[in-house]
Symmetry: C2
Subunit: 341 residues, 2 copies
DNA sequence: TACATAATTGAAAGCGCTTTGGATGCCACT
DNA sequence: AGTGGCATCCAAAGCGCTTTCAATTATGTA
């Protein structure tokens, strides 16, 4: 069933039927009713490809999913997607996901944009001096970035959390508890959030005249396995750190296992603060020793970005171009006074 | 830059350029070279919407993502998507993801199909007597189901793992260890895999004249929190089970916490076997007591389904319509002889 | 030399929709 | 009666591509 058939069935022109469907005012209410009724009976749905071709819009947001054989999938991606989806479903938008090798992201993004089947782009996993940024700017298509790109002029539309502030605050708390030996379990080095979190730790320490030793920083994929390895490494250091900052509850999972295996007690021998993206899978309050965290919901960020993107496409703006969300510092049992030597 | 402009630039007709690009044989090799060269220089990309409109195909697989405010995102979804993506990227396919309220899946799937912007459909989270099946059959669009639908005639294309066999084998192992009191921590009751796994346990037990008490079955979302709750419940039972079958390593995570909190030792007081979807996030061999598991890679399933779907669209078939993958039973330290009373 | 055959290219129709630029009829008002 | 305004509706063009059908030229054969 297509527009032509439907209009013939109704004895109307395609024009009128189209207008009736799209809510244009110049069609008689009785006629509109008749059309809507016919749509219900026939189950007619407009062909999206044709709509897109005719209008240049088709209610879709494009995003690139980094993937490759051997490339580990990331829980955070799924959670974020859920947020995007939650908002998109309210507006009858959908996503076009282009899987791409992580080495090919710039090109993949461009292909996606030029292919003409998305109205807007979403970009995540920002890195320092991210090469996608200049490309996006040249594209004349709406986009929103999740995160920022350290080292690039912040003149692009983004939504980010205050990573530096979060880790600054977390570090300060531990300092107040009297800790002096710190370690940071971070995400991959080139990622923007990792850079900022590290800066947050470093600047809080600097205020007390402390430094973060190279030995006490790990950069790794955020899996529990990597957490375990990193923590094992920290625990073997001659000057064992007593305060751990951790970029993800997933990493914390492994880290805590290492702590337990070493016979140490979390919150007493070792204090740990993790960043909590509010993954439903892994609640910090349910850890055997509940985790002190810096919290910001990844899913909420997804919802908000979808709002901005969809709003822009529908010209429902204006939206602020840059948003920086504060995180919450939630104190639970995994942090405590530094152990007396 | 569109086809018309490109062809004018080259002094050729749109026909010839189109043919050159799509690999038709009736174009002079020299001409083809010239066209390809121009494409490189101009960065021309065909408009996918127009292509789809003209051909009815556009290299895309549609899937419905269940989502709603309050609906928990599922790690398994992301992992599966990674598998689909890994294969799709090799064929320049992409996904169209339609987010939909879980109550509205049938309609959402139909909308997606009729919208005319996907070539094939993928469906997961199968339930018993799944209402999407009759709809899919009526659609005349290729599709592959992940899982099966208990109670429906198995005459649809699917890829499933042998859930019943997996849990049958796992149960048998525990029986051989002398366990007699079993409990099952399962996924949501209506899901097909949950039904089959339960059947596997029940039939293995039946062979020894044992039964699975209602008290010893939990159905819940597969999060660590639910795992904790379920295990706490089991441990309070007057006849405490000593053998636990668990539908996910995520559930196991919480379950094990409950075991530890109760001061019991995994692999001695309590034996546990979990199903392992090979989530990179959570490796059973890294648990503090490594987990005995039934294993089947979700991601590999994604790759295979993408192969079948893409192959069908590209007429590269034939593919078997039904595939049932065996799982592996991998014995680690979380299972041991039943404790002597 | 004449004619069938193959190789290469193009004109134009069509995919299903939106939208521009009229038509048409009806009414109120002068 | 004549005019303008309004409410409705429609024909046709156009979005950017593919594909059918036909034309043109090059090649080979009798």
């Amino acid at each position: 069933m297509n527009l032509k058939q439907l209009s013939e069935l109704l004895g109307l022109s395609q024009t009128t039927v189209s207008r009736a469907l799209n809510g244009y005012p110049e069609v008689n209410e009785a006629t509109r009713e008749r059309v809507l009724q016919a749509v219900k009976e026939t189950g007619y749905r407009p062909n999206k490809a044709a709509q897109r071709l005719a209008t240049g819009k088709a209610g879709s947001i494009g995003l690139v999913m980094p993937t490759a054989p051997g490339h580990q999938s990331d829980v955070h991606f799924g959670e974020f997607l859920a947020g995007l989806g939650e908002e998109a479903v309210r507006h009858d938008f959908h996503f076009v996901i282009m899987p791409a090798d992580p080495d090919d992201e710039v090109a993949a993004l461009r292909r996606l944009a030029i292919s003409g089947n998305v109205d807007a782009l979403f970009v995540a996993y920002m890195r320092g001096h991210d090469p996608r940024l200049p490309m996006l700017k040249s594209l004349s298509m709406p986009y929103v970035v999740h995160g920022r790109s350290f080292g690039s002029e912040p003149d692009y539309p983004y939504l980010d959390i205050d990573n530096e502030g979060a880790f600054y605050d977390a570090t300060r708390l531990l300092l107040q508890f009297g800790h002096t030996r710190f370690a940071l379990m971070n995400g991959p080095m080139q990622l923007d959030f990792a850079i900022r979190r590290k800066n947050g730790v470093i600047s809080a320490l600097a205020e007390r005249g402390l430094a973060l030793e190279e030995d006490c920083i790990s950069h790794a994929l955020m899996t529990d396995e990597q957490g375990l390895l990193a923590m094992e490494h920290f625990l073997q250091l001659p000057e064992r750190p007593t305060a751990i900052l951790c970029s993800s509850t997933v990493l914390a999972l492994g880290a805590i296992r290492a702590v337990n295996q070493a016979g140490l007690r979390l919150g007493e021998d070792i204090s740990l603060i993790a960043h909590d993206d509010v993954l439903p899978l892994l609640k910090p309050e349910n850890f055997s020793v509940p985790l002190t965290t810096t919290r910001s919901s990844l899913r909420a960020a997804g919802v908000r970005i979808a709002q901005r993107l969809i709003g822009t496409v529908k010209q429902a703006g204006p939206f602020p171009d840059q948003e920086l969300w504060k995180t919450e510092l939630i104190v639970r049992a995994s942090t405590g006074p530094a152990p007396q030597v």
